[in-house]
Symmetry: C2
Subunit: 168 residues, 2 copies
Protein backbone atom coordinates (compact mmCIF):
# COMPACT_ATOMS: atom_id res chain seq x y z
CA UNK A 1 0.00 0.00 0.00
CA UNK A 2 1.12 3.56 -0.62
CA UNK A 3 1.15 4.57 3.00
CA UNK A 4 3.10 6.42 5.65
CA UNK A 5 4.15 10.03 5.81
CA UNK A 6 1.37 11.32 3.58
CA UNK A 7 -1.47 12.08 5.96
CA UNK A 8 -3.11 15.36 5.00
CA UNK A 9 -4.98 17.67 7.39
CA UNK A 10 -8.25 17.32 5.55
CA UNK A 11 -9.61 15.31 2.68
CA UNK A 12 -12.49 16.34 0.43
CA UNK A 13 -14.16 14.17 -2.16
CA UNK A 14 -16.20 15.96 -4.81
CA UNK A 15 -18.96 14.52 -6.98
CA UNK A 16 -21.24 16.34 -9.40
CA UNK A 17 -24.96 15.63 -9.13
CA UNK A 18 -28.20 16.37 -10.92
CA UNK A 19 -30.11 15.66 -7.74
CA UNK A 20 -29.07 14.38 -4.32
CA UNK A 21 -31.04 13.61 -1.20
CA UNK A 22 -29.51 13.03 2.22
CA UNK A 23 -31.14 11.84 5.43
CA UNK A 24 -30.45 14.22 8.29
CA UNK A 25 -32.61 12.51 10.88
CA UNK A 26 -33.55 8.84 10.93
CA UNK A 27 -37.16 7.77 11.34
CA UNK A 28 -38.31 7.34 14.93
CA UNK A 29 -41.37 5.73 16.40
CA UNK A 30 -43.51 8.82 16.04
CA UNK A 31 -41.75 10.67 13.23
CA UNK A 32 -40.75 10.01 9.64
CA UNK A 33 -37.11 10.41 8.62
CA UNK A 34 -36.01 13.92 7.68
CA UNK A 35 -34.14 14.65 4.48
CA UNK A 36 -32.45 17.56 2.76
CA UNK A 37 -31.98 17.71 -0.98
CA UNK A 38 -30.31 19.69 -3.70
CA UNK A 39 -30.79 19.85 -7.43
CA UNK A 40 -27.85 20.33 -9.80
CA UNK A 41 -24.58 20.99 -8.06
CA UNK A 42 -21.73 19.67 -6.02
CA UNK A 43 -21.60 16.98 -3.33
CA UNK A 44 -18.68 17.52 -0.95
CA UNK A 45 -17.72 14.63 1.36
CA UNK A 46 -15.37 15.97 4.01
CA UNK A 47 -13.05 14.42 6.60
CA UNK A 48 -10.63 16.10 9.02
CA UNK A 49 -7.41 14.61 10.36
CA UNK A 50 -5.51 15.15 13.59
CA UNK A 51 -3.71 18.49 13.47
CA UNK A 52 -6.38 20.22 11.37
CA UNK A 53 -7.50 23.54 12.78
CA UNK A 54 -9.86 26.30 11.75
CA UNK A 55 -7.07 28.31 10.08
CA UNK A 56 -7.33 25.71 7.31
CA UNK A 57 -10.99 26.30 6.59
CA UNK A 58 -11.08 29.55 4.58
CA UNK A 59 -8.53 28.25 2.08
CA UNK A 60 -10.29 24.91 1.90
CA UNK A 61 -13.72 26.42 1.25
CA UNK A 62 -12.25 28.86 -1.25
CA UNK A 63 -10.56 26.06 -3.15
CA UNK A 64 -13.56 23.72 -3.21
CA UNK A 65 -16.10 26.33 -4.27
CA UNK A 66 -13.83 27.79 -6.95
CA UNK A 67 -12.30 24.74 -8.59
CA UNK A 68 -13.74 24.31 -12.08
CA UNK A 69 -15.49 20.94 -11.98
CA UNK A 70 -19.11 21.83 -12.73
CA UNK A 71 -20.35 21.41 -16.27
CA UNK A 72 -22.41 24.06 -18.03
CA UNK A 73 -24.98 23.18 -20.67
CA UNK A 74 -22.30 23.78 -23.30
CA UNK A 75 -19.98 21.27 -21.68
CA UNK A 76 -17.64 23.91 -20.29
CA UNK A 77 -16.24 23.38 -16.79
CA UNK A 78 -16.79 26.19 -14.30
CA UNK A 79 -16.89 26.45 -10.52
CA UNK A 80 -20.04 25.60 -8.59
CA UNK A 81 -20.30 29.32 -7.74
CA UNK A 82 -20.22 30.24 -11.43
CA UNK A 83 -22.61 27.48 -12.54
CA UNK A 84 -24.34 28.46 -10.22
CA UNK A 85 -25.15 25.20 -8.45
CA UNK A 86 -26.15 24.01 -5.02
CA UNK A 87 -23.83 22.34 -2.53
CA UNK A 88 -24.50 19.28 -0.38
CA UNK A 89 -21.92 18.77 2.38
CA UNK A 90 -21.59 15.29 3.87
CA UNK A 91 -19.43 14.57 6.93
CA UNK A 92 -17.60 11.38 6.01
CA UNK A 93 -15.11 10.27 8.64
CA UNK A 94 -14.67 6.95 6.85
CA UNK A 95 -12.65 8.84 4.21
CA UNK A 96 -9.87 8.98 6.81
CA UNK A 97 -9.58 5.20 7.03
CA UNK A 98 -6.40 3.25 6.40
CA UNK A 99 -6.45 -0.42 5.65
CA UNK A 100 -4.85 -2.84 8.09
CA UNK A 101 -5.28 -6.46 7.14
CA UNK A 102 -8.94 -6.80 6.17
CA UNK A 103 -10.12 -3.92 8.37
CA UNK A 104 -10.05 -0.16 8.20
CA UNK A 105 -8.57 1.91 11.01
CA UNK A 106 -9.22 5.57 11.70
CA UNK A 107 -6.34 6.51 13.98
CA UNK A 108 -5.43 9.63 11.98
CA UNK A 109 -8.91 11.16 12.12
CA UNK A 110 -9.48 14.22 14.24
CA UNK A 111 -11.28 13.66 17.55
CA UNK A 112 -15.06 13.78 17.66
CA UNK A 113 -15.33 17.23 19.25
CA UNK A 114 -12.72 18.92 17.06
CA UNK A 115 -14.20 17.17 14.04
CA UNK A 116 -17.68 18.47 14.80
CA UNK A 117 -16.35 21.98 15.41
CA UNK A 118 -14.38 22.01 12.14
CA UNK A 119 -17.32 20.54 10.22
CA UNK A 120 -19.77 23.13 11.59
CA UNK A 121 -17.46 25.99 10.70
CA UNK A 122 -16.78 24.52 7.27
CA UNK A 123 -20.53 24.39 6.59
CA UNK A 124 -21.07 27.91 7.83
CA UNK A 125 -18.22 29.28 5.67
CA UNK A 126 -19.72 27.58 2.61
CA UNK A 127 -23.10 29.11 3.42
CA UNK A 128 -21.53 32.56 3.72
CA UNK A 129 -19.69 32.22 0.40
CA UNK A 130 -22.84 31.23 -1.47
CA UNK A 131 -24.87 33.96 0.24
CA UNK A 132 -22.26 36.58 -0.68
CA UNK A 133 -22.22 35.54 -4.34
CA UNK A 134 -24.78 37.52 -6.32
CA UNK A 135 -25.12 34.91 -9.08
CA UNK A 136 -25.90 32.24 -6.47
CA UNK A 137 -28.29 34.44 -4.52
CA UNK A 138 -30.15 35.34 -7.70
CA UNK A 139 -30.40 31.72 -8.85
CA UNK A 140 -31.62 30.62 -5.42
CA UNK A 141 -29.08 27.84 -5.06
CA UNK A 142 -28.56 26.45 -1.56
CA UNK A 143 -26.08 24.83 0.79
CA UNK A 144 -27.45 21.73 2.51
CA UNK A 145 -25.55 19.47 4.85
CA UNK A 146 -25.63 16.24 6.78
CA UNK A 147 -25.64 15.83 10.55
CA UNK A 148 -22.20 15.07 11.94
CA UNK A 149 -21.97 11.61 13.50
CA UNK A 150 -25.14 10.30 11.80
CA UNK A 151 -25.35 7.61 9.18
CA UNK A 152 -25.31 9.48 5.87
CA UNK A 153 -28.12 7.82 3.95
CA UNK A 154 -27.68 9.22 0.44
CA UNK A 155 -29.51 8.91 -2.85
CA UNK A 156 -27.95 10.51 -5.84
CA UNK A 157 -28.52 11.00 -9.57
CA UNK A 158 -25.63 12.14 -11.69
CA UNK A 159 -24.80 12.92 -15.27
CA UNK A 160 -21.34 11.52 -14.47
CA UNK A 161 -20.06 11.98 -10.89
CA UNK A 162 -16.70 13.21 -12.19
CA UNK A 163 -15.19 12.22 -8.84
CA UNK A 164 -12.23 14.26 -7.57
CA UNK A 165 -10.15 14.03 -4.44
CA UNK A 166 -8.59 17.19 -3.03
CA UNK A 167 -6.39 17.07 0.05
CA UNK A 168 -5.26 19.93 2.26
Amino acid sequence: MADGGCTPLARALLQQCLHARLQVRPAEQDAAAQWVEIQRGLVIYVCFFKGADKELLPKMVNTLLNVKLSETENGKRVSVLDLPGSVLIIPQATLGGRIKGRNMQYHSNSGKEEGLELYSQFVSLCEKELAANSKCAEAGVVVEHGTYGNRQVLKMDTNGPYTHLIEF
Copy 2:
Protein backbone atom coordinates in the same frame (compact mmCIF):
# COMPACT_ATOMS: atom_id res chain seq x y z
CA MET B 1 -2.08 21.27 -0.40
CA ALA B 2 -0.65 17.96 0.79
CA ASP B 3 1.10 17.15 -2.41
CA GLY B 4 4.31 15.83 -3.89
CA GLY B 5 5.99 12.49 -3.45
CA CYS B 6 2.84 10.60 -2.58
CA THR B 7 1.52 9.42 -5.93
CA PRO B 8 0.30 5.83 -5.65
CA LEU B 9 0.11 3.31 -8.52
CA ALA B 10 -3.64 2.96 -8.28
CA ARG B 11 -6.46 4.56 -6.36
CA ALA B 12 -9.76 2.88 -5.53
CA LEU B 13 -12.77 4.58 -4.02
CA LEU B 14 -15.37 2.32 -2.42
CA GLN B 15 -19.01 3.10 -1.72
CA GLN B 16 -21.70 0.79 -0.42
CA CYS B 17 -25.00 0.77 -2.29
CA LEU B 18 -28.49 -0.65 -2.04
CA HIS B 19 -28.95 -0.17 -5.76
CA ALA B 20 -26.80 1.41 -8.45
CA ARG B 21 -27.33 1.95 -12.14
CA LEU B 22 -24.62 2.94 -14.60
CA GLN B 23 -24.91 3.94 -18.25
CA VAL B 24 -22.62 1.86 -20.43
CA ARG B 25 -23.74 3.24 -23.77
CA PRO B 26 -25.27 6.65 -24.38
CA ALA B 27 -28.48 7.02 -26.36
CA GLU B 28 -28.05 7.35 -30.10
CA GLN B 29 -30.43 8.40 -32.82
CA ASP B 30 -31.86 4.94 -33.27
CA ALA B 31 -31.16 3.35 -29.91
CA ALA B 32 -31.95 4.03 -26.26
CA ALA B 33 -29.10 4.31 -23.76
CA GLN B 34 -27.85 1.04 -22.27
CA TRP B 35 -27.45 0.57 -18.54
CA VAL B 36 -26.13 -2.04 -16.16
CA GLU B 37 -27.30 -2.26 -12.57
CA ILE B 38 -26.63 -3.99 -9.32
CA GLN B 39 -28.62 -4.40 -6.15
CA ARG B 40 -26.95 -4.42 -2.72
CA GLY B 41 -23.18 -4.36 -2.85
CA LEU B 42 -20.04 -2.42 -3.55
CA VAL B 43 -19.29 0.35 -6.03
CA ILE B 44 -15.58 0.49 -6.90
CA TYR B 45 -14.30 3.61 -8.69
CA VAL B 46 -10.84 2.86 -10.01
CA CYS B 47 -7.98 4.94 -11.41
CA PHE B 48 -4.48 3.86 -12.48
CA PHE B 49 -1.35 5.99 -12.38
CA LYS B 50 1.83 5.96 -14.44
CA GLY B 51 4.00 3.03 -13.42
CA ALA B 52 1.08 0.72 -12.60
CA ASP B 53 1.34 -2.69 -14.22
CA LYS B 54 -0.67 -5.87 -14.17
CA GLU B 55 1.46 -7.38 -11.38
CA LEU B 56 -0.45 -5.01 -9.12
CA LEU B 57 -3.88 -6.33 -10.00
CA PRO B 58 -4.21 -9.63 -8.08
CA LYS B 59 -3.27 -7.97 -4.78
CA MET B 60 -5.55 -5.04 -5.53
CA VAL B 61 -8.56 -7.20 -6.35
CA ASN B 62 -7.87 -9.43 -3.36
CA THR B 63 -7.74 -6.44 -1.03
CA LEU B 64 -10.85 -4.71 -2.37
CA LEU B 65 -13.06 -7.81 -2.40
CA ASN B 66 -11.93 -8.92 1.07
CA VAL B 67 -11.86 -5.70 3.06
CA LYS B 68 -14.72 -5.71 5.56
CA LEU B 69 -16.86 -2.75 4.57
CA SER B 70 -20.22 -4.35 3.72
CA GLU B 71 -22.90 -4.32 6.39
CA THR B 72 -24.97 -7.42 7.19
CA GLU B 73 -28.56 -7.17 8.43
CA ASN B 74 -27.20 -7.35 12.00
CA GLY B 75 -24.93 -4.36 11.42
CA LYS B 76 -21.76 -6.45 11.29
CA ARG B 77 -19.11 -5.50 8.70
CA VAL B 78 -18.01 -8.24 6.33
CA SER B 79 -16.41 -8.36 2.91
CA VAL B 80 -18.54 -8.04 -0.23
CA LEU B 81 -17.68 -11.69 -0.95
CA ASP B 82 -19.03 -12.74 2.44
CA LEU B 83 -22.14 -10.55 2.30
CA PRO B 84 -22.49 -11.73 -0.48
CA GLY B 85 -23.06 -8.62 -2.56
CA SER B 86 -22.69 -7.49 -6.14
CA VAL B 87 -19.90 -5.30 -7.46
CA LEU B 88 -20.13 -2.32 -9.83
CA ILE B 89 -16.78 -1.21 -11.23
CA ILE B 90 -16.51 2.34 -12.58
CA PRO B 91 -13.43 3.59 -14.43
CA GLN B 92 -12.81 7.03 -12.96
CA ALA B 93 -9.70 8.69 -14.32
CA THR B 94 -10.73 11.96 -12.65
CA LEU B 95 -9.70 10.38 -9.33
CA GLY B 96 -6.12 10.88 -10.48
CA GLY B 97 -6.47 14.66 -10.72
CA ARG B 98 -4.33 17.15 -8.87
CA ILE B 99 -5.38 20.69 -8.37
CA LYS B 100 -3.39 23.49 -9.98
CA GLY B 101 -4.89 26.92 -9.46
CA ARG B 102 -8.60 26.49 -10.17
CA ASN B 103 -8.13 23.55 -12.54
CA MET B 104 -7.41 19.86 -12.20
CA GLN B 105 -4.49 18.25 -14.00
CA TYR B 106 -4.08 14.57 -14.74
CA HIS B 107 -0.38 14.29 -15.51
CA SER B 108 0.15 11.31 -13.18
CA ASN B 109 -2.57 9.17 -14.75
CA SER B 110 -1.57 6.15 -16.78
CA GLY B 111 -1.83 6.50 -20.55
CA LYS B 112 -5.11 5.66 -22.26
CA GLU B 113 -4.01 2.29 -23.67
CA GLU B 114 -2.33 1.05 -20.50
CA GLY B 115 -5.26 2.34 -18.48
CA LEU B 116 -7.75 0.44 -20.61
CA GLU B 117 -5.65 -2.73 -20.45
CA LEU B 118 -5.31 -2.51 -16.65
CA TYR B 119 -8.99 -1.73 -16.25
CA SER B 120 -10.08 -4.69 -18.41
CA GLN B 121 -7.87 -7.08 -16.50
CA PHE B 122 -9.04 -5.65 -13.18
CA VAL B 123 -12.67 -6.28 -14.18
CA SER B 124 -11.94 -9.78 -15.37
CA LEU B 125 -10.08 -10.67 -12.15
CA CYS B 126 -13.05 -9.43 -10.09
CA GLU B 127 -15.39 -11.54 -12.22
CA LYS B 128 -13.21 -14.61 -11.66
CA GLU B 129 -13.10 -14.07 -7.90
CA LEU B 130 -16.86 -13.80 -7.61
CA ALA B 131 -17.41 -16.78 -9.90
CA ALA B 132 -14.99 -18.90 -7.83
CA ASN B 133 -16.74 -18.02 -4.56
CA SER B 134 -19.48 -20.55 -3.80
CA LYS B 135 -21.47 -18.17 -1.58
CA CYS B 136 -21.52 -15.58 -4.37
CA ALA B 137 -22.37 -18.12 -7.06
CA GLU B 138 -25.23 -19.49 -4.97
CA ALA B 139 -26.62 -16.03 -4.18
CA GLY B 140 -26.42 -15.04 -7.85
CA VAL B 141 -24.57 -11.80 -7.21
CA VAL B 142 -22.86 -10.21 -10.20
CA VAL B 143 -19.99 -8.02 -11.33
CA GLU B 144 -21.03 -5.17 -13.60
CA HIS B 145 -18.78 -2.49 -15.00
CA GLY B 146 -18.64 0.74 -16.91
CA THR B 147 -17.11 1.31 -20.33
CA TYR B 148 -13.62 2.77 -20.15
CA GLY B 149 -13.43 6.27 -21.61
CA ASN B 150 -17.18 6.88 -21.49
CA ARG B 151 -19.03 9.37 -19.35
CA GLN B 152 -20.04 7.38 -16.25
CA VAL B 153 -23.66 8.41 -15.79
CA LEU B 154 -24.51 6.96 -12.38
CA LYS B 155 -27.62 6.76 -10.23
CA MET B 156 -27.20 5.36 -6.77
CA ASP B 157 -29.22 4.61 -3.64
CA THR B 158 -27.38 3.95 -0.43
CA ASN B 159 -28.03 3.21 3.19
CA GLY B 160 -24.89 5.25 3.91
CA PRO B 161 -22.14 5.21 1.24
CA TYR B 162 -19.49 4.60 3.91
CA THR B 163 -16.92 6.00 1.49
CA HIS B 164 -13.37 4.62 1.72
CA LEU B 165 -10.24 5.39 -0.23
CA ILE B 166 -7.64 2.66 -0.70
CA GLU B 167 -4.41 3.32 -2.54
CA PHE B 168 -1.91 0.83 -3.94
